[in-house]
């Protein structure tokens, strides 16, 4: 008999501990391995010409400025459309709707949207926005497709943020005689702002990394628009490949140098976005408290 003051090591337990530590270490090493490998292979490729130039067979240059611009176009346009709709939906669900069939249908639809894979969004975007609405391969087609894709992300984050606003704020405002919309505008939305911003940043991260939904919607051109206001706006109706699409195309063509160069740029953006959301959450401590 072992004494109760003496801890007996069960050999089976020790093995489980080893397995648990091994699995946890695996994730960390995978991440480090990916970052180091991509940096090693790609950092030499990234220079001023690569970032600000355009690929030209004539001049023999490789550059991704067009792809960076396309990515920015799609981010800005998508967020301009998706943010108001997503926030509005969350406000409706949290502040106006009474529990019932409509609400559960909306919530089920939001859940479903977030579960649909991006290739399906791509197919739908190509058929509906591209063919039925006649936008063909263009930045706008890609934008509309991605709006549907990131909508659940924004709605859900805004809803979470609205839930953390104390009810006393609402009753206080209503008690002072303000209308509901006035109360939402001046009290609820400002208080929920950190959550909304977090949702927006997460959505931007999703857009930056997206590829399957854009391949058949936004197209693949890496050219820069001509200088001037008119071409700048007209670009929205033209094909434009984002960074991820260019990475995919470069890799398919065996141009691994360019592919890894883009991978470095993408990793930097994605890591930056991740740290930004962390910093935000810490600063406002809205999401951090729940753990």
């Amino acid at each position: 008999m072992t004494s109760i003051t003496q801890r007996k090591r069960h050999p089976k337990d020790v093995m489980m501990y080893i397995a648990i530590y091994f699995c946890a270490a695996l994730s960390v090493f995978l991440l480090l391995g990916i970052i180091i490998y991509v940096l090693m292979k790609g950092i030499g490729q990234v220079n001023w010409q690569f970032l600000t130039g355009v690929t030209s067979i004539l001049k023999g240059t490789v550059g991704i400025a067009g792809n960076i611009l396309n990515t920015l176009y799609i981010i800005v346009l998508t967020m301009l459309i998706a943010t108001p709709i997503g926030v509005g939906a969350a406000v409706y669900l949290n502040e106006y709707a009474k529990p019932g069939k409509l609400v559960s249908l909306i919530e089920f639809a939001t859940e479903t949207l977030s579960g649909i894979p991006s290739i399906i969004f791509g197919l739908f975007g190509m058929m509906f926005f591209g063919e039925t609405l006649g936008l063909s391969y263009s930045i706008l087609t890609g934008t509309f497709t991605l709006v549907l894709m990131v909508l659940p992300l924004i709605t859900r984050n805004t809803q979470e943020a609205l839930k953390t606003v104390p009810d006393s704020y609402r009753s206080g405002a209503i008690g002072l005689g303000t209308g509901k919309w006035y109360m939402i505008r001046t009290i609820l939305l400002p208080s929920a702002m950190p959550g909304i911003i977090t949702g927006v940043i997460l959505a931007i991260g999703r857009i930056v990394g997206e590829s399957a939904a854009l391949l058949f919607t936004a197209g693949s051109s890496g050219l820069l628009p001509a200088k001037g206001i008119e071409p700048f706006f007209h670009k929205m109706l033209e094909s434009g490949g984002t960074l991820t699409i260019q990475l995919y195309l470069s890799a398919s063509k065996g141009e691994f140098g360019a592919a890894f160069g883009i991978a470095v740029v993408l990793l930097v953006i994605v890591l930056g976005i991740n740290f930004a959301t962390k910093a935000l959450a810490k600063k406002f401590d809205v999401n951090a408290k729940k753990d």
């Binding site: 699995c23 960390v28 990916i34 926030v87 479903t112 995919y248």
Partner: protein, 296 residues
């Protein structure tokens, strides 16, 4: 004033209805575009045919192996991903000292944020050559094996396993954390070791949460397109580890651009099959969620 309030209310309602409209139109379009081929090719020939030769003189459009590849690939990826994911979640939620958990959890979140084309690129550069070496070793004496250069089902499975890890880990971690501390202390108090407590008490209690994570992982793996398109090769074959294969997703990605006529219709049907799988998973998730609410 009153009028403004009513207008505001309806504007918010319209925003909320966008999600419903989107789901309905996506469903409608997938069915509308995906069903004609079932008629023109024939349901059994299309879904259970094993020959894929869309550009041949006498074309055949059997997608059975493609469906099978998606099922086998997803199942195998989860067979690898779930145990690793659950053990990692156990580490984060129960075993790790705080500073270590504070390293592992953010690392997992970052893994989730890495774009799938980067996974594909790395798979192509690292996994495929490794697989090729393995292939040369295993099939050294074979005269019938078609060499794939390492772009095969096994590479795709490994990439999928890695890509589903974050989903499984995150959901499992929070469901383990949600298990009441009293259950844990009761188990420890009757003399169970920490490992016994974890595997006999905590994990069974967190079962429905873990199931949710697994189902979400299945959805993620089924829907992944770009990464596996870069590592799985480009021919429709029986899903055997060293065969070059096509998944439902990669079939669409790689052939949509140049397809036309019936070939294109069939690709939409491939999309519809994927969509049906995903909808089944969504319904399953809704059920699991309801069950979780009842248990809580």
């Amino acid at each position: 004033m009153r009028k403004g309030e009513t207008i505001a209310k309806y504007i918010f309602l319209v925003c909320a209805v966008v999600a419903i409209l989107a789901v309905f139109s996506i469903t409608g379009y997938m069915i509308y575009k995906g069903t004609p081929a079932l008629g023109s090719v024939g349901v059994t020939e299309l879904l259970f045919g094993t020959e894929w030769a869309p550009t041949a003189k006498d074309p055949s459009y059997g997608i059975f192996y493609i469906i099978l590849t998606s099922i086998v690939g997803t199942a195998a990826a989860l067979l690898i991903g779930v145990p690793i994911g659950v053990l990692t979640a156990v580490f984060i939620a129960e075993v790790a000292p705080k500073p270590l958990a504070a390293v592992v959890q953010p690392a997992v979140e970052l893994l989730a944020a890495i774009p799938s084309v980067i996974y594909g690129l790395l798979g192509k550069m690292i996994l495929n050559p490794l697989m090729y070496k393995l292939e040369l070793l295993i099939f050294a004496d074979s005269t019938t094996h078609k060499y794939t250069g390492g772009a095969n089902l096994l590479s795709a499975i490994l990439v999928l396993a890695i890509m589903t890890l974050p989903t499984i880990i995150n959901i499992t971690t929070s469901s383990i954390k949600a298990v009441p501390a009293s259950m844990k202390s009761a188990s420890l108090a009757v003399g169970a070791t920490r490992i016994q407590t974890i595997f006999k008490v905590i994990i069974p209690a967190a079962k429905s949460g873990i199931m949710t994570g697994v189902v979400l992982g299945v959805g993620r793996a089924l829907g992944e397109a770009m990464a596996i398109n870069m590592v799985a090769g480009g021919a429709v074959n029986i899903p055997l580890p060293f065969n070059s294969v096509r998944f439902l997703t990669t079939q669409v990605v790689s052939e949509m651009a140049y397809s036309s006529g019936v070939h294109r219709q069939v690709l939409f049907t491939v999309g519809l099959v994927l969509f049906v799988f995903i909808m089944i998973i969504n319904l399953l998730l809704a059920k699991l969620k309801k069950k979780g609410e009842v248990e809580a």
